[in-house]
Subunit: 672 residues, 2 copies
Amino acid sequence: MAMTLDMRRARSQTDVDVAIARDFLYGNREKWEEHNELVKIMCEDPTFDKSQRLYMSRSGRYNNGLRMMNRIHELQDKHGWSSHQMTKAASLMDEPTGFHLHLVAFEPVMRSQASPKLLARYEALVRNRGILGCYLQTELAHGSNVSSLETTATYLPQTKEIEINSPTPTSSKWWVGGAARTATHGVVQAKLILPNGRDVGPHLFFVQLRSLEDHHVLPGITLGEIGPKAMNGNTAVDNGFARFDHVKIPAENMLSKFSQVTEDGRYIRPPHAKISYGGMLYIRSSMVSSGGWTVAKAVTVAIRYATVRRQGNQDSGGLERQIITYPSVYNRLLPILARSYVFILLGRSLEKAFAEMAERLSNGDTTLLAEMHATTSGLKVLVSTSCAQDIETVRRALGGHGYSAYSGLGRLYADYVPAATYEGDNFVLDLQVVRAALKAYSRFVSAEKPSICNLSPSTQYLHLLLEPVVETNAFSWQDPGSCVNLLEQRAVSLLRDLVLHDSDRDASVEERVSRAVTEAFVAEQIMAYIGDIQNGLPEKSAEVLRDLLHLYLLTTVELSLADLLSFHLLPLPGAHGTDISGDASRELRKAVQRLCLKLLPQTIGLTDAFGFTDWELDSALGVFDGNVYETLWNKVQTEPLNESEVPDGYKEYIKPVLLRGQRMAAKYGAKL
Amino acid sequence: MAMTLDMRRARSQTDVDVAIARDFLYGNREKWEEHNELVKIMCEDPTFDKSQRLYMSRSGRYNNGLRMMNRIHELQDKHGWSSHQMTKAASLMDEPTGFHLHLVAFEPVMRSQASPKLLARYEALVRNRGILGCYLQTELAHGSNVSSLETTATYLPQTKEIEINSPTPTSSKWWVGGAARTATHGVVQAKLILPNGRDVGPHLFFVQLRSLEDHHVLPGITLGEIGPKAMNGNTAVDNGFARFDHVKIPAENMLSKFSQVTEDGRYIRPPHAKISYGGMLYIRSSMVSSGGWTVAKAVTVAIRYATVRRQGNQDSGGLERQIITYPSVYNRLLPILARSYVFILLGRSLEKAFAEMAERLSNGDTTLLAEMHATTSGLKVLVSTSCAQDIETVRRALGGHGYSAYSGLGRLYADYVPAATYEGDNFVLDLQVVRAALKAYSRFVSAEKPSICNLSPSTQYLHLLLEPVVETNAFSWQDPGSCVNLLEQRAVSLLRDLVLHDSDRDASVEERVSRAVTEAFVAEQIMAYIGDIQNGLPEKSAEVLRDLLHLYLLTTVELSLADLLSFHLLPLPGAHGTDISGDASRELRKAVQRLCLKLLPQTIGLTDAFGFTDWELDSALGVFDGNVYETLWNKVQTEPLNESEVPDGYKEYIKPVLLRGQRMAAKYGAKL
């Protein structure tokens, strides 16, 4: 189909150079080309066709996931993909499966925590999927509180074995992706029990679950499906339960890079209490960029649809208005567009920082661990909470058709939303973020000579404790730096107030402090991105991207108004020539609106810059050419239920109801 | 299974008399008994068993819906149910179907807008389901903007017929519940075109869609399924599309109670422009109480689960703490419990008001219409936005298991969430709420002698324009009246500011004003409920219910902090003996927390008062006896995928991947 007029016009009016913005998002031209290359191969391969998946049963979806997994290995051989490319291709499958847990959980944990001896034997098998693994941590009765897990791993010195056992029904491993049907092996988290009966807490153990001959479950182990997920999410993932009845494994199967049990049963503790957290931090740090890209998809669909959907009042051309021109629509969508950019950029920074930390960690250097833990925890909460909400906000902004499965956004939401819970429930992680912030605060204020140079990036905002606040007359909503300063003041104020009332906290203070310190950190990062943009990109594109990041800052300030006003941090409107008795937030809201209106002509360019193909978006409302109604109509024709005109249950259920009603109505003289 | 210790203890410690609170929620003892009677009959009938529905295909779910519809008619005959009881039973089916649209949309619109002649012929058929109807309004390209619908209904004076036509693909009726496969008839909204070519706007027409002999679609009509819904919601509803190719119907099939076409083609306009809005108002007003009851289910599940789930730190008894005792958990759940109570009470008030209006309307008296329109629009937005968010908040508060389909909350959310879009997109309705509020405001301030007596309930807050604000030293968070006063001040301030900047609105002002005026209205209603409670209920129960409504008010104030602080409406903390430089909102948050802690021992009683059976909740986590893990375990055993140990795709897809990997690993010397 040809591009619709609205879409053509929108593309022609953008100032942002799509290729430049795209390279900026992907990191550089090579990374985009690598991505694009993979997409091309996959979207032309019928194995990765998505047109039927909405109509498949759960086992059909699971089976189709296996089919894709198998095909992706064939393609790896054919095209000589690196491990990195393979992992990218797996995520392009756009269907989370048990296999993905091998890549994102099992393999990293094995690589970072298995002993050299265990790795020598299994590393190549793990890397090439000669075995398929899963990661068994959560239990039926315990999740976020890992220290209370019930599964035991008892060292038996006589045979140099370890016995894995599920002592109670509630100790059953639960929610384990890939465990129900796919994985052959797993890493089990269990309390290590020494021969003297001492429990030295949770450790990791490599356990074979199924026969490599025929895939049958090994003796002593019970595996099964835990059933469908809410909102039909993650349908193709075989989340499983697992119970172990005194299953013996060789002692060397303990992942013992950092802590060990000697042959005679003594425990050797790790050099740093949290050195084994590396794997978890890897998943959390990768969640920032994946959240950003997920919302990028959602908002691309919405901005395209809102560009071609016309409704309501007539515009100057005599047509109904494009819905994106309505304040209630652009005011919802553009801040989300800004957030998706910011999270993608943050994700890249974080992956770099993680790589550095992992490098050091592998040499036993734990100096970066605490900072990485603080940053990834805060960002995991912020990003997963925001992204889940933003996907749903975007879906609703599409109006009625957003509720069609063909919009693609329901699936995005249902698959994404557990991110708020896994890898540490957001409300539990908040406590850890606050703990780290309080520690940094007290270290800073109790230092003999507090110095800004000693502040880590995640606590940079504490510089305000030494430096004077920006003068009110220098304040301007037009200045991103003013927003950053406000967000830093908010973090410091909330934290200081928490210290003051530490023994009498209110019930939401951790959530608010966690958000405040994380948003201060993000705001500071954005100033750095703005610098990069202004130094590295052509002027027009740079201005658009700068505006977009500025919009992120302004709307973040807007969302934190209750905090800012509670601590009297918002500059009084009187200082800017407006009536002091009026709405103190109005100037901010008008600044948001002005920036939205300025960015409006850029939105199609900014979403095109994500580089999504129609195959990647899989949304009738987000098609590149703007022919949304035709696409929706064509989709409807593929609905198998439309093959018959009269439903199966007609004779058995509909006809009797009608006949009964007609009989009864006849008593009142009604006839047809 | 016996009741768990935690649940038994929780039940024993409640001060609220469950039966009294239950009767209060249902209206009176008789209504509860009627409800309970129906539940008993249905939950014992195998037709309404819910244990398999999660595993059914879409067509299986649809067919099962038909089966229930048919059975419910048999039960009506058997038990002599009234129409009212029948409708209640249909909602207890707990599975929205096309048939429900007959009850909630088709039947009311026929009854209120068909001519006496048309009713004489069809009313008994409609009432007894001798025909099954649907309501065809939304089109592919138009929803909320009804005035731009494209479907035409042209009066043909020669034959005294009306020709229904879909002139374009985008004029296809879309989203019509029941149209795809169930309904035999429908009411079509179409632009009435007079013989002189004049378009007199949208009117309603009664059209037969399918043969009553064999259910085949009649000539000139194309019907079909529009495909699955987002998040697998409303799976059993056959939402359809419909196209009309010059379909002729008798002229008397126009629903002409209020406006008519004469035989010679002249148009007789209705006595009041909005007199036909009655049907829409009916649906909107019923959405208030159904939203409340839906959230009641969700929060019952969550409070029960949070009472028996233990995690984290040890409590005084040496056990891990019940998760409901964590601030981040009770702070999320208890305000939601309060909202469910409030919405249920509001729903009942509204239904009463609606009945009075409908009674008057049927006599051509439109005096109550505008007020009803303002109230139902504002409440529809408030309730559907809150409830959708609350269901999801509750689901996440359950942690990992909340994402299991067995929690039941994913389904609740997926089915509920379109309520934010249908019957007027919330963001579009906001505009109408604001318009009505502005009108009332300007009428009041421009009146020669503005009098409080002339204020309708929905604009009662305007009394503040005449009366002085409560003195600061009389202000107390312990006083519900102080909260009401704050919420009224907020409504007035926002509205006054909007008038001031009417030509330069910010982008979210309608959303904020709509919420502010509606919440002021709700707050005033709550004062009346508190009065009823204190006059009508025994002391202990009255205190608990009063506290719960007070919590609603406090948390509503908390959620409107940005408004209140922006307009300098929050009493300064200095006035209450605390440090003025600190957090201005802290006292409020502590008041919320104190009330939550006071209510904590009452929560099981307050949720038991909803009277839900396990069959109604259909949630493994919300079982009455608290045996959540056993129930979850038993549910998992019903998952059909657990019937085979090795998945179907093993040989074709898993084994080849493993063998390839083992081959490749062998090159590196790895062997198993």
